[in-house]
Symmetry: C2
Subunit: 160 residues, 2 copies
DNA sequence: CGGAATCCGTTCGGATACTG
DNA sequence: CAGTATCCGAACGGATTCCG
């Protein structure tokens, strides 16, 4: 009984979980955002087993979030455009985690705008009245890739 | 050899991965954001094995993203404040996934502002010049919960 | 040192059966 | 219908070893 193949699910978020759904994956990306590029640095900074690191990096490279480029005798793992585009997601996750998952001491790392020195925050999505958007404030309509089940579940169109 | 206990890591993001680091977890939250509250609906909508769903829901309830409330003869799983606060993170992830992980057909679901009918997007973080913030545009300083290793790695303070 | 390969315990996760 | 429990294969992940 092979496990469900997330790559085959129509929902792009599910497909993202195929790449980022293991617990170390996001932390590897965090390290990449913090400037780490070499295998050994990832391993030491994270305290991750090397075989797992190897597998995670390979998957991130396979899905084009990182690229493996020769650098002298070794390799460097660098963010691609796709990987760099994930930065706002990480920022949002970090914001939530610092607020809701931190211990009494608070946050471990502080991200400052290099220009102003102000702390970087992910702006929250707002509704038309300028209030933070909640799940209740949205209407769901199927997109072009929606399955039949989704269309039955959420009847309507963008302009209906 | 037990696996690394993410709850003990100082980084709040790592602690978040303790709860959300399994591949089904985010999709369970997605369903909650889409209005699902009952066990059977989660199971049918997601196509997840019921024992796994049971475990994921229990963990989300344990960490206070969902609460299990009696509803007639059964239970309803409802978003808590903490769980609702995760919505912007989901939105950011969905935006990235729709852009970078979707197939040629595009997105599966479209989230509209219930008031205006406009598609909801997560505003990207900007730097002081109004340009999208990149990992290169930030300066990293240790926060109050930073480990010694982190302080050595990132010397400096918020006002240094 | 960089990274892959091996070994093995643990967890995930699907299918099925079971209880209320 | 709402879940829990059991079984078992497959994947995750830690420790160690090995190769360039």
């Amino acid at each position: 009984m092979p496990r469900t193949d997330f790559a085959r699910i129509r929902c792009p978020v599910a497909r993202a979980m195929e790449v980022l759904g293991e617990r170390w994956s996001i932390l590897v990306m965090r390290e990449a955002f913090y400037g780490t590029t070499r295998f050994d640095d990832f391993a030491r900074h994270l305290g991750i087993a090397t075989n797992i690191l190897s597998a995670r990096l390979a998957k991130l490279v396979e899905h084009d979030l990182l690229e493996r480029v020769p650098e002298g005798a070794r390799h460097a793992y660098r963010l691609t455009e796709k990987g760099g585009a994930f930065f706002p997601v990480f920022l949002a996750l970090k914001g939530w985690s610092d607020r809701w998952m931190a211990g009494p001491e608070g946050q471990a790392m502080c991200l400052l705008d290099a220009g102003t020195g102000e702390e970087v925050v992910c702006p929250p999505p707002l509704d038309s009245a300028g209030r933070p958007l909640t799940p209740e404030g949205i209407r769901l309509v199927p997109g072009p890739a929606a399955s039949e089940a989704m269309r039955r579940r959420f009847p309507g169109t963008a302009h209906g």
